[in-house]
Symmetry: none
Subunit: 403 residues, 2 copies
């Protein structure tokens, strides 16, 4: 792990760092395709950049471990993914830019439809219209009160049938199981604790659900709710505090905006496509030190199992790459938060290629940006949490250690 003592070595300067994350870009060969998605894609710009960079193949969390997007990104930004594993509820709340505090427990909510006996008919309330969701949340917010139990409650719509609930109070715990039974024809599960601290939450959660059910009773679709991903929020030192970097996140999807938000980055407004994302870096180039650019579609096409479509996204990124490289950042990184091989249709445990370009990198013999070529790179194979120190060193933002 990136030892805290090293944060004392951080100095500031005017260098610019572009950190391009191609979500899930790591892949696997699929029969008949002739290699992994990155090997098959024609990527002249990435390959030319690799040829004058240091490359490597990094494990996000630990060899053999398949990272969720949370741990993957924490590792990318130099936060130990084993000690900084944030819960799903926190990611949901952060993703809608809710400002969490150390007193908060956040929960993902699915609005759902139950029959008169309370058995679930639809776990997503017919994929509720987002406007309906907002109305229902406002109604709940107005009428639910947990002040008597010493707790403030926040109810925020997300999208379709999804919302976020945040409890704020002293000594709250996120050690509770989901109430979602994952099937219809049964009622939601009763709240259940996974620790003695969680046990103390049962009266609070029960009171919340009782009030909510009364308020939602007359709703045609959203007449019940399922609580998932209970998570206590533990604030982290921001990247500004740790590295002295003023950071901009150019990410269009809630989870990644949420992570960036938690780590103290400012959020660029959501843009239309990859091209406008890349252009946003140029438009803000003077105002920030560090640009986290998150491309989602490599992962999405991998999850779809669509090898060719994932190759196309990679080729699109490659064709747009000059928008970033023409800015001549002092440090340019291209990598991923995990692999999503089309052949697996899911995140996987395979390490990801890393490309690090800067004035003082040791140029190795790697001439292509893919999982196999990068094995011969000067960065070798390491834990991803090591990448940020390397980035800071190459930005000349780390002083010498020891006499």
């Amino acid at each position: 792990m990136w030892p805290e003592v090293f944060e004392q070595l951080v100095v500031k300067n005017d260098s610019k760092i572009i950190f391009l994350v191609l979500d899930g870009v790591g892949g696997l060969a699929m029969e008949g395709k002739g290699g992994t998605e990155l090997q098959v894609a024609r990527t002249p710009n990435l390959d030319a950049l690799a040829a004058k960079s240091s490359c490597g193949v990094f494990d996000l969390v630990y060899p053999g471990i398949t990272p969720g997007s949370g741990p993957g990104h924490f590792a990318l930004f130099g936060y130990d993914p084993l000690t900084c594993n944030i819960g799903r509820g926190v990611l949901e709340a952060a993703g809608i830019e809710f400002k969490l505090t150390g007193k908060d427990v956040a929960i993902r909510v699915n609005f759902a439809t139950a029959d008169q006996q309370g058995n679930l008919i639809d776990r997503r309330a017919g994929r509720l219209d987002t406007e309906e969701n907002k109305r229902v949340c406002a109604k709940l917010r107005q009428r639910i009160h947990l002040h008597a139990m010493g707790v403030d409650v926040f109810i925020e719509p997300v999208k379709e049938h999804r919302a976020a609930v945040v409890f704020r109070g002293e000594n709250l715990s996120g050690d509770l199981e989901d109430t979602d039974p994952q099937i219809t024809g049964v009622p939601p599960k009763a709240p259940k604790a996974t620790s003695p601290e969680g046990e103390r939450m049962i009266p609070l959660v029960t009171a919340f659900l009782e009030q909510a059910h009364k308020i939602l009773a007359d709703e045609p679709k959203a007449n019940t709710m399922l609580l998932r991903g209970f998570a206590k929020f533990h604030p982290y030192k921001t990247m500004t505090e740790r590295y002295g970097l003023k950071c901009l996140a150019v990410a269009n999807y809630p989870m990644y905006r949420g992570i960036a938000n938690i780590l103290g980055m400012e959020l660029n407004p959501i843009t239309e496509n990859i091209k406008t994302q890349f252009e946003a870096v140029g438009e803000n180039f003077k105002k920030y030190d560090f640009f986290f650019v998150h491309v989602k579609y490599t992962d999405s096409r991998g999850e779809d199992g669509d090898f060719d479509a994932k190759v196309k996204v990679i080729e699109e990124v490659d064709s747009l790459l000059p928008i970033l490289t023409d800015l001549h950042p002092d440090v340019m990184v291209v990598t991923a938060d995990h692999s999503t091989p089309a052949v697996l249709k899911a995140h996987s445990w395979h390490p990801v290629p890393v490309l690090l370009h800067a004035k003082y990198v040791r140029v190795d013999e790697v001439k292509a940006f893919n999982e196999i070529a990068c094995l011969a790179g000067a960065l070798g194979q390491q834990p991803m949490v090591n990448l940020m120190p390397l980035v800071l060193a190459n930005a000349l933002r780390l002083q010498k250690y020891g006499a």
Copy 2:
């Protein structure tokens, strides 16, 4: 880190180990040169040795971290550089072979010249003649007394305007800032603590300075002093205690002699050049198990930014290498304590090549001793603190672990 449990596996035998450290030899490609310093240098002997060795590329402290010479050498000798970071004052005192104890705080001293108002005119007292330095130190030593405060004080000349001061007493602390203001036209800074333990040192340091200033008042040049690098000495287990090795250091520069001294090595008298250093190994070959041979000039020429001169030093080492290899040591190591690329004119964070030759190494496909070729080596990329266990294993000085 080299876990202490392994020290229990150490056994003794008659094997001989030569550990050749080319200070700062790791480099970077410089435009128009065609590679790094090691790649450009003609090194037939090193390359032939690499071809029958295991090679690798090791990080001294941590990826991205630029090591000072202290942490670099501690890692080379199997001491965790994160927990064994010794201060500059200790290195200075050890470098003049002062025998430090666990009760000591060591300080680097610059003799300096101040005007009648006490403002600094020359922070180096006109680079005082070393003989003058000795006279001034003797005068101070004779007349300064801190016995009333329960402290012995030692004042030792180093070279030119530099001296070392050691306070010896109970519960002393090195948590103090330098009194050197780094500029002229102002007086030296007052002693200032960086911790409550350091706070307790203020009366002692103030009394020391008051006495010293009275004694130095009639000096034409050295009429004041600047205190730098306050450091408490924490004794380490020696290499003899840890590894059962009787060690000789063949190093000509004070800092490296100091480190060797701290780790329990005996010090060969200072020799004239690299050739006489290498010859000293042969002359003492029967008397020791482990030979630390330190070549300084690779680092010096890197610090000068003189790529070609660094290449020349590497070629000189290569041409002299048979003096060492003809001794047929059981284990021969060639590596560095850090990189000093000429293009950076300073220590850098880049890992260093390692060559390990012994009877039972697994010979890899590396046929040249440089930063890029060694990436393909059997030792891979690892933390440098792992090297000593590999050396001991290859010397057949480590027993099996576990049943």
